[in-house]
């Protein structure tokens, strides 16, 4: 009985503790939102928007930024200076206000341990941060990019800092000629970017495609300098950068302050590359500085011949294999060979950044060999197809001959037996 009683007491205590824990897990009272949600326009809208904000979903209240006492029902008391109410922060105060939590590693760990906490220090190194410190409040602060009361995580497609939203977010200011007028910088970046191969990939759903922040940084946004941008391109286009560093252009362009990648590919409006960019023909970029007869022009010509030659061979081999495949021939292995040859063309196109004609030719030659091998296999498959047709025709002739012989044999047998039966018949 005593054991039963003690068990009951333990159970009761456990239930009480669980109940207490449940009470503490309840969302904090937020009278700010209760009252503001009933207001219209400027005073009501933030409260309505905040319902879907990442902060609201994690238990952060209005008072966390605006101060005051959300537990107090009396408006005058809850929004009194005595309760720490600070109202709407000024633009200059915003980075520090956000950083109160976002720069506090211990605090942020409770919400998202993987989130960085160096945004403020990064921001202070950026042109935005420096100008803000200098008193220019027209530059971007946290809320300009992330929003104010409807902030969503960057992974959300609805967030203004989601990769696919970033160009428009940056372009809101940088694409506004009137707004950017005092800074005397171009405002065609967004329009240019939207014609680029990078934007094509991004809008096609490739979230790894570069956006403004990939090259310019996000919190530590800096204007582009000659060396910085060439380093940025190389973070993705590693081999191109390494090979370019070995090229004669590297040393020749540095004193002229010509940017390595931008000189040929441009910056925001980067287009699909093509083999006509090299060589002496129409659309050649090489001919902007070189002439056909100088050494650079000759090298460009060699490279062009190597690339277009391999490309042509690849096309021919693919056409032969397509034809064989359409006829039902198995050319899987030849397809693998052709795919390896195509990789050689890609490598040769990367190798051209060395501006070493011999090096590109070496790569393209190995690709040509593989293309010819694949082509040969395709030709053999087509020959095999023709052989099969002839073999089939001969076999069918032989089979038809046997069938006709059998038919004649059957007819003969049956005529003979019919004759014998007729001979045995009493009526005959």
């Amino acid at each position: 009985m005593r054991r039963l009683l003690s068990s009951f007491v333990v159970l009761l205590a456990a239930t009480s503790i669980a109940g207490a824990q449940q009470a503490t897990a309840r969302p904090p009272v937020d009278n700010c939102r209760t009252c503001h949600a009933q207001l219209d326009d400027r005073l009501g809208e933030p409260a309505k928007q905040f319902a879907d904000d990442i902060h609201a979903t994690r238990g952060i209240t209005c008072a966390s930024c605006h101060g005051g006492d959300p537990g107090e029902e009396d408006m005058a008391k809850s929004m009194s200076r005595a309760k720490g109410y600070r109202g709407v922060p000024t633009r200059k105060e915003i980075p520090q206000l956000c950083a109160k939590c976002h720069a506090d590693g211990a605090f942020m760990r409770a919400y998202n341990p993987s989130l960085r906490t160096d945004q403020l220090s990064q921001y202070q190194t950026s042109i935005h941060g420096k100008r803000l410190a200098g008193g220019d409040t027209r530059v971007a602060v946290c809320s300009d990019c992330h929003g104010i009361h409807k902030i969503r995580p960057a992974s959300s497609p609805l967030s203004s800092v989601h990769p696919q939203q970033i160009p428009n977010t940056c372009g809101r200011c940088h694409g506004d000629a009137a707004y950017m007028k005092p800074y005397k910088i171009p405002t065609d970046q967004l329009a240019g970017y939207k014609t680029s191969v990078h934007f094509e990939k991004l809008s096609g759903g490739d979230l790894a495609a570069p956006t403004c922040v990939t090259c310019h940084g996000n919190h530590g946004a800096t204007p582009p300098g000659v060396t910085s941008v060439e380093r940025v391109c190389g973070t993705c286009h590693v081999f191109q950068e390494q090979l370019f560093d070995r090229s004669p252009h590297k040393a020749a362009w540095a004193p002229l302050k010509m940017s390595s990648c931008l000189t040929c590919h441009g910056n925001h409006a980067i287009q699909h590359t093509s083999d006509v960019m090299v060589g002496a023909g129409k659309g050649s970029i090489c001919m902007t500085c070189h002439s056909e007869s100088d050494n650079g022009g000759k090298t460009a010509g060699r490279i062009s011949v190597a690339l277009t030659g391999l490309d042509k061979l690849l096309g021919e081999a693919a056409a032969v294999l397509d034809s064989a495949e359409r006829k039902g021939m198995e050319v899987g292995e030849a397809r693998v060979t052709l795919s390896t040859a195509r990789e050689k063309l890609i490598k040769a196109r990367v190798d051209l950044h060395t501006m070493d004609g011999a090096h590109v030719e070496e790569t393209s030659k190995s690709g040509e060999k593989l293309s010819q091998q694949a082509n040969q296999e395709g030709v053999q498959a087509l020959a095999e197809y023709a052989f099969r047709r002839k073999g089939l025709a001969l076999s069918l002739l032989a089979i038809a001959f046997v069938v006709v012989c059998l038919w004649l044999l059957i007819r003969n047998l049956e005529r003979t037996s019919a004759g014998e039966e007729a001979g045995r018949s009493p009526t005959s």
């Binding site: 039902g328 021939m329 198995e330 899987g332 292995e333 095999e384 099969r388 047709r389 073999g391 089939l392 076999s395 069918l396 089979i399 038809a400 046997v402 069938v403 059998l406 038919w407 044999l409 059957i410 047998l413 049956e414």
Partner: protein, 357 residues
């Protein structure tokens, strides 16, 4: 001919005259439905083609997920006439099921299952189901994408069998998923277990066919009420016609293999997403389409389970037709033909529907 006579003498000295005299005197009824008699022989011929080409393929085929696809590719591109052997094996498999199906339905509509041929019918049905098993197990062996996912969908249906479904699924897959274990298991079924069962059943079926002779359709019997139905000799008249049909089938197989080589596709990738429009072989399409159309829940059981149960029951009833069709006279005597007609129409409509969808 002299050699044949010598051989006959050699045989008769040792085993007596029974077999040769039986074959020499065996007669086959000759009437307007005689053409249907040739489909059994045609199916047998195609089965023998399968055995011969299957053995040849075995010389190079390797039943493992890392080598199966490559070995079939090797057969098709490097082995002398390997493409022809594989092409004939694949086409013959499909023609075999087609001729077996037509043979079975012609037997049904001509009521050739009547007493005393009940066991001939049952053994024939069992052989047909075995051929379907051959088709299903052989489909996976090249280990290409289409076969892999079709097998995944096909074996998943086994899970719907009440009580033993889960066990069946694990047994046939050799685990929870379609893996290399499934491939070796299917290979074992395809080249050892099914051939053994088929040989035994086929032996019994052929013995029964020879023992009872060809059945004469009721309409022909009635038309020749007072006089015997005309016949011709099994040897050589019927057999020569059979051989003629086999030659034509051989020509058709060669033409199909040369003009429409059986595709190999791309190697199976178990981690890839199921491609859109995965369908089983044509002979399973009506089952597939039916299961797709059955609602999620029928009365008190799951739709898929209901479908599998219904088809299981249907197959059992189909095999027991000789015992269910007892009415020789009266309005109900035509009922089996009507039901058979509905079944054939259903199979054709569902197959076309699934094919086009």
């Amino acid at each position: 001919m002299a050699l044949m006579l010598q051989l006959r003498d050699w045989w008769e000295e040792r085993f007596g005259k029974d077999l040769f005299s039986f074959l020499m005197h065996k007669q086959v009824p000759r009437h307007r439905h005689t053409i249907w008699y040739y489909l059994g022989g045609m199916t047998l011929f195609l089965f023998l083609v399968q055995v011969v080409t299957g053995i040849l393929l075995l010389l190079y085929y390797r039943p493992s997920p890392t080598e199966a696809f490559e070995s079939v590719q090797f057969i098709m591109t490097k082995v002398q006439f390997g493409w022809l052997i594989r092409g004939i094996h694949s086409w013959s498999a499909n023609l075999l099921i087609f001729t077996a199906m037509v043979h079975m339905f012609s037997t049904f509509f001509l009521k050739a299952y009547r007493k005393p041929r009940e066991l001939t019918w049952i053994s024939g049905c069992a052989l047909f189901f075995l051929f379907l098993g051959f088709g299903f197990s052989g489909y996976l062996l090249p280990w290409n994408e289409l076969a892999f996912f079709a097998t995944k969908v096909g074996t998943q249906m086994m899970a719907a069998v009440p009580v033993i479904g889960k066990w069946l699924l694990t047994f046939f897959r050799g685990g929870e998923e379609v893996t290399g274990a499934t491939l070796t298991r299917f290979f074992g079924f395809h080249v050892a277990i099914f051939p053994l069962l088929t040989t035994m059943l086929l032996g019994a079926h052929l013995f029964l066919v020879q023992y009872f002779g060809m059945s004469t359709p009721i309409s022909v019997e009635q038309a020749h009420k007072d006089k015997p139905v005309p016949t011709y000799a099994f040897l050589p008249n019927f057999l020569l016609r059979d051989i003629m049909g086999w030659y034509i089938a051989l020509g058709l197989l060669a033409a199909l293999a040369a003009i429409f080589p059986w595709e190999l596709g791309v190697k199976a990738d178990p981690f890839a997403a199921t491609p859109a429009g995965i369908k089983p072989e044509w002979y399973f399409l009506f089952l597939f389409q039916t299961l797709k159309l059955i609602p999620g829940r029928v009365v008190f059981i799951e739709g898929e389970q209901f479908g599998v149960l219904a088809f299981g029951l249907g197959a059992a009833m189909w095999m027991l037709v000789p015992f269910l069709d007892r009415k020789k006279e009266g309005p109900l005597r035509r009922l089996p033909a009507v039901i058979g007609g509905v079944i054939v129409a259903y199979i054709i409509v569902m197959t076309i529907w699934a094919w086009r969808s």
